[in-house]
């Protein structure tokens, strides 16, 4: 009996290690790469033994990169700031628009309600490239191309459906009687929304906000096409390291590490909310 149990435990542990290796090894490798020079990265066979260098990071922060074919300006810090501005403003606006909308979809039956909600979700199905070409034309016409406002607007395609559907599931989980009770107590409709509905859906709102922040942060294609150099986020900014003198793998790796860090920290901090938001709210929504 005892040997059987420990045998099973060994198998389970082995399976766990394989899964972890599969998912974590690329991240680990990129992390190592960020402390190597391009020469070290490109040697064959690759090795995990090397003398670490901070060259890549200093280059990113100082904004200048020395290469064999001369020096290169790097706008990485500017890109990082852009990412922060774009993602947080997008999420903020999506919350202001999406939470009341989610409440309406959860609480009231209105004509075409389900259709509208589904249409909003379907924005997530369409390949972004499909809408991008006409969007570029429109934006140039109305002067929104290469502006933060324009980008934040387009980012709503990512954030709004996510917030709407996750938060709606949370609102649906709150018994309407709790709100009715508060109204009957003598409180206005608006007060009921802010004092009962919002606080009770707070975990869902937090989860939805985090998820949409991460999705906005990781977006590549909208920014690539709609923004020029000084509005580009880190995801696009990393392209600059594909230079005429070759691909700067070390710098790219360092840039990836730096750009992943904020979302990773956020995700770790709010892990519980995220899992709940993904499994509970989203499934029910």
């Amino acid at each position: 009996m005892a040997s059987k149990i420990s045998g099973g435990a060994v198998l389970r542990a082995a399976a766990r290690i394989i899964v972890l290796l599969f998912f974590l090894f690329p991240i680990f490798w990129v992390f190592l790469m960020s402390f190597q020079t391009n020469q070290q990265i490109l040697r064959i066979p690759p090795s995990i033994f090397f003398t670490p260098t901070l060259e890549n990071y200093t280059a990113l922060f100082s904004g200048r990169l020395q290469t064999a074919s001369g020096s290169l300006d790097i706008a990485f810090i500017k890109n990082l700031l852009n990412s922060i501005i774009l993602s947080s403003c997008s999420v903020l606006i999506a919350l202001i628009l999406g939470v009341p909308a989610a409440y309406a979809f959860a609480r009231f039956k209105f004509r075409l309600g389900e259709n509208i909600a589904f249409t909003l979700l379907s924005f997530r199905f369409a390949p972004p490239l499909l809408v991008l070409v006409p969007l570029v034309a429109y934006f140039q016409m109305i002067g929104l191309s290469d502006t933060y406002i324009g980008l934040i607007w387009v980012y709503q395609l990512i954030c709004l459906p996510l917030i709407l559907w996750i938060v709606r599931g949370y609102f649906e989980d709150i018994s309407p009687d709790i709100e009715h009770a508060y109204r009957v107590d003598g409180h206005s409709w608006a007060k009921t929304f802010f004092k009962i509905a919002i606080p009770l859906a707070r975990p869902g709102i937090a989860a939805a906000a985090l998820l949409s922040f991460i999705f906005a942060w990781n977006n590549f294609v909208f920014a690539l096409i709609l923004a020029s150099a000084d509005k580009q986020p880190v995801t696009v900014g990393a392209l600059a390291f594909v230079t005429s003198a070759g691909i700067q793998y070390g710098i790219i790796a360092a840039a990836i590490v730096l750009s992943v860090t904020p979302t990773l920290l956020l995700a770790l901090y709010a892990q519980r909310y995220l899992v709940e938001g993904l499994s509970l709210g989203a499934v029910k929504g």
């Binding site: 018994s175 009687d177 709790i178 009715h180 009770a181 109204r183 009957v184 107590d185 003598g186 409180h187």
Partner: protein, 372 residues
């Protein structure tokens, strides 16, 4: 004085007509118990009165004023919901204080009133707890305290004892009349338990198929039900129902049940010659071990105690079943059953229903007022 009046109220959901042209009035200090099968629209009616839903037609008057179009916050009603509906992120104190806070009552007065109501409901020791830390009974009392605290004109209780255990249900059923008397409001109490309806209602209303089949004092509902369905809803064990046809004979009006003619009081003359169901309450069937005049032989098949009474399960030679009850102590004489007993049926207190439509054909004389 009439506190709450409902006139010609109708409500449908799509093609489903919940009720049609419903009307009643409840005075201050009076309780109307709404009983009846689930899905009868009882809860919807409460929601209409509270202002959570609007009726299709008809009006709701509180103290003579039509409250149509007035939001729930301005109607001065208190509601205790079946699922308690406590605010999970507030303490019991804040839950109870909520109606006072909405009116901007000063802090000292809020504290005084909450403490007072909490003491009345025996939850003063858990006021600082969050709802999730309360037992079901305490949650239910907190919900009641919240409904009562600002002395509303109308109090709506939606099956408030449904989700508490049997012991607490008994305790609260006996305590509620005193609380309602103190509150001095027009109260509507929705329940599926006939004991709660009879124990708490000054009037009992039976909502069935979209209308009030009967509104009457509890004793009247029990002794003079308007239909066989109402007779079946009230009473445990359920009333015995036997097919029969009353006939006039030389000895007067008679009915043949269990193969034996039995006399019927004259007020049943209207039922003569019609296909009927005779309804006999189990407590009107007496069972003994000795044969006597007018008694019928039965086989006693089982004795199942029911709280302070015992249910006797009887079958005659043809296999027809009959339930009788007697005080628990009297049942000791019968042992485990499975022997012959002799049964007398009090037909003077029987009910006769039309076999086709279930309507009561003739009612016994109104219950004698109890000597004080």
């Amino acid at each position: 004085m009439t506190r709450l009046e409902i006139r010609n109220l109708s409500k449908s959901f799509g093609s489903l007509r919940l009720f049609h042209d419903v009307g009643f009035a409840v005075a201050a200090g009076e309780t109307l118990a709404l009983a009846g099968p689930s899905g009868g629209g009882k809860t919807i009616l409460l929601r209409l009165i509270a202002g959570i839903m609007e009726p299709d037609e008809g009006s709701i008057l509180i103290d003579g004023k039509d409250v149509g179009g007035v939001g729930p916050e301005a109607r001065d009603v208190g509601v205790a919901f079946q699922n308690f509906a406590l605010y999970p992120h507030m303490t019991a104190f804040e839950n109870i204080a909520s109606p006072l806070r909405a009116r901007g009552t000063e802090t000292a007065r809020v504290k005084e009133r909450v403490t007072e109501v909490a003491a009345l409901l025996k939850i003063d020791h858990v006021l600082e707890n969050q709802p999730r830390e309360l037992s079901n009974g305490q949650k239910q009392r907190t919900a009641l305290a919240r409904a009562l605290i600002r002395r509303p004109k109308v109090l709506l209780l939606d099956d408030p004892l449904r989700n508490v255990d049997a012991k607490l249900r008994y305790e609260m059923r006996l305590e509620l009349p005193r609380l309602l008397a103190v509150a001095d409001c027009a109260a509507i109490y929705v329940t599926q338990d006939y004991r709660e309806a009879m124990g708490l209602g000054d009037l009992v209303g039976i909502l069935r198929a979209g209308r009030f089949e009967q509104i009457a004092p509890p004793a009247e509902i029990y002794t003079r039900p308007r239909s066989v369905e109402i007779a079946r809803l009230f009473g445990d064990p359920t009333i015995n129902l036997l097919p029969c046809r009353p006939e006039r004979t030389a000895e007067g009006l008679q009915v043949e049940i269990f193969g034996r003619p039995m006399p019927l009081p004259l007020h049943f003359a209207a039922a003569e010659g019609r296909d009927c169901l005779i309804g006999v309450r189990p407590e009107h069937v007496s069972v003994g071990l000795q044969n006597g005049p007018g008694s019928l032989p039965f086989e006693l098949n089982a004795v199942t105690p029911l709280n302070v009474r015992a249910v006797l399960f009887l079958r005659d030679a043809a296999g027809t079943e009959l339930l009788a009850t007697c005080p628990e102590d009297d049942a000791l004489a019968f042992g485990r059953g499975h022997h012959r007993v002799f049964v007398t049926i009090d037909t003077s207190r029987a009910l006769l229903f039309d076999r086709e439509n279930g309507q009561t054909l003739a009612l016994p004389a109104a219950a004698q007022p109890l000597a004080a």
